[in-house]
């Protein structure tokens, strides 16, 4: 397979995953806004968290007034200035798909193309706050349809495996980012701390669609320790960091037929170390070293793995000596 093709496939699924995560985050914020009766100022702080998760605070601060929640939504959904806006990520995903449309099933191309066309139409139409939840819903559905077509129609060869790596690496990184932003938020100042905390963690779980699975494991006792354990170490939940890293590793092993060659050594090591760490640590050990430090380091290691994937398979504009 051409390196350029592998690159497009890897970024195709990464970008679709990114769009879906953004939609989930916005959708959860919308409902928690309805359920919480907090003062306005607090609400705006809440919305701003989404900008922090997106990682583009500076761009946002330069362009928008942060005290207006509509601005946050506009920025996350449609802004051209935000490289990770849903419209931008789906535009990139579609360009990636177009560049490999002879490789992927036609149904998959049609789904991502329609996804883009719908979104583009939405971005031109005036939208109200009431419609945002519908827009998020359609983004989630189209992303799920996309993934469903991949699962149902693609042979499990190199193309599929590169897509797997992209999707799960993105998902792992995003899970860490979400948990990080929410985890170090100080809720002590609230009078009704218990209720606020409950809502807080409930939304965090919802944003990865993990609230139902969480209850099955921990019963409806929402504790930060348990949420962290669920997010980081659950081996069965498909959006936990542990699960996603395992998936990236499996895809790598399948791609290399179980061998480690000279060229793939550093990638193999990075993956193995990270997977082992997740396996070896208990949640207490992680929290003792500091959740923030751990999650930061995890995100960093995901980035390193991404770089190693790029180098190992000559993705992007890599010059072959």
């Amino acid at each position: 397979m051409l390196s350029r093709v592998a690159d497009s496939l890897y970024w195709l699924t990464r970008n679709v995953e990114r769009a879906e995560n953004n939609a989930r985050l916005i959708a959860v914020k919308l409902t928690s806004r309805l359920e919480n009766a907090n003062p306005t100022e607090e609400m705006n702080q809440n919305w701003y968290e989404l900008i922090e998760i997106s990682g583009f605070q500076e761009v946002f601060d330069d362009e928008y007034d942060r005290s207006i929640d509509r601005n946050v939504i506009e920025f996350l959904l449609f802004s051209i200035k935000n490289p990770n806006s849903i419209l931008n990520t789906i535009t990139i995903a579609r360009e990636n798909a177009r560049a490999v449309r002879e490789i992927i099933p036609n149904e998959l191309w049609e789904s991502i193309n329609s996804f883009y066309l719908n979104l583009k139409r939405q971005s031109h139409a005036p939208w109200t706050m009431e419609e945002v939840s519908d827009i998020c819903e359609f983004v989630k559905k189209d992303s799920l349809l996309f993934q469903g077509i991949v699962e149902a129609t693609m042979p499990r060869g190199d193309a599929y495996l590169f897509m797997e790596m992209g999707k799960h690496l993105e998902r792992a990184e995003k899970a860490a980012r979400i948990l990080d932003v929410y985890y170090h938020k100080n809720l002590d100042s609230y009078q009704n701390k218990e209720i606020v905390e409950y809502h807080h963690w409930w939304s965090v779980l919802q944003s990865v669609s993990g609230h139902e699975a969480y209850i099955k494991t921990y019963r409806p006792l929402i504790k930060s320790r348990n949420v962290a354990e669920f997010f980081i170490l659950n081996a069965e939940f498909p959006r936990s960091m542990m699960y996603c890293i395992q998936k990236v590793r499996n895809a790598f092993v399948a791609l290399e037929d179980g061998h480690v060659e000279h060229y793939s050594e550093s990638l193999a090591q990075e993956l193995e170390h990270l997977a082992n760490d997740l396996y070896d640590f208990s949640i207490e050990e992680i929290l003792n070293q500091g959740a923030h430090a751990f999650l930061q380091s995890f995100q960093h290691r995901c980035m390193t793995i991404g770089l190693h994937i790029t180098k190992t398979y000559y993705l992007g504009e890599v010059v072959i000596p």
Binding site: M1, L2, S3, R4, R98, N106, L117, Y313
Partner: protein, 481 residues
Amino acid sequence: MFHSYNVDGYFDEMLQEGKKPRGHCKPFHEKLTEVAPEELQSRYELAQSDFLRQGITFTVYSDNEGTERTMPFDFVPKIIPPDEWQELERGLMQRFDALNAFLDDVYHEQNILKDGIIPRDLVVNCQHFFQQVAGIDLPRRQHIFMAGIDLIRDDNGEYRVLEDNLRNPSGLSYVFQNRYVMRKVYPEFFNQYSVQSLEQQFSYLHSAMASLAPEGRESPTIVLLTPGVHNSAYYDHSFIAQRTGIELVEGRDLVVRERQVYMKTARGLKQVDVIYRRIDDEFLDPLEFREDSLLGVPGLIDVYRAGNVSILNGIGNGVADDKAIYHFVPDMIRYYLKEEPLVKNVETYLLRYDDQLEYVLDHLSELVVKHTNASGGYNMLIGPHASKDEIEAYRKQILNNPSEFIAQPTIKLSRLPAFKEDRFAACHVDLRVFIFGGEKTHVFPGGLTRVALKEGSLVVNSSQGGGAKDTWVLEENPVHI
């Protein structure tokens, strides 16, 4: 629906005088009049949205923002009876073989120039004649892998060649998409017809490419070289690559090492044997042609010269589809094949000759004049449709350098009905037929029928308001299922 339809003055391919359908069009015409106009309209919209969903679009730029448009599809097909097609097919293969022989000759012995059949300066001064590739022996001496020959029918219904495209003719994917959409949206229109299938063509196409590999390369690695996703014909490239099962590559995916071409794969370099390129000659190799080209592969021509890679279509083919050389194609057929041409040219005046120049300047308002280096329907004068000022401006252009112009009588292009919401209108059509060479010369049944949807317009190019139709070649012995 046919109430205001006009069959006067032009050859109509479906209706004869008195609006009576021609024999082979009768069942279709009957079906057409049975379906309600609203039904036709909603199906028409369905067909367009299908093209959009498939992303078969070209981009129109306005206000800095590109809008994606689909090429309008008209569902009234061009229907070709079997005997008419067989004759045409023979004529096109003949032309294809003569053009190929001409290319091999002008890049080797140049006998046709020595024998004075074609003026030498016309060939060697042509901007598409490349001395760089003279003397290279191509596998099977095949310079033309794929040709797209544009045909029109004159007012007697006789087919004539308007243009030979021997470099990068595009549109093959549309032939297939038009058929898919037609089958999907208008299935019952096929009921009483047995139409030649297009499906097995891709295996022929693949064997043709493989047969043109450098000698000794068993099961060659074949790639299609595209300028990339932003090229207007990108869909064509990706479709052909997918259906023939070859790799779609860009210039940056290829690299030359030790006089071999390789592609950069996720597991290192892999040797490439055949390149079906859809990049123009000038952009192929910055070391030999345009230095500023980012689309090509440095060193590629050297590998070609060494015989280590096949490039299809051959480099320098443009000299054979030049608008002035066109005038001599019938002579090529007589010279190389010792046969009379089966499909005629459109009469052409070469303005390099004083007597023809004089005649043309006297009759500008009746003629079509074309610049030999322009394509896509640009920079041409359609005398009967032009204003006095336009004619005078063009006259000045001609006099600046007469040898760069040719002129042809205004052909009364044949017409076919096209759907216009509440009625049918007679619109002008032409036909691009695709022919490919390899072990043997092969013609795709049918081709791309282009239609000038602006009523009265003679310009069928999609950039200027043209659309497409499905093209049916009928089976000689219909298979009844």
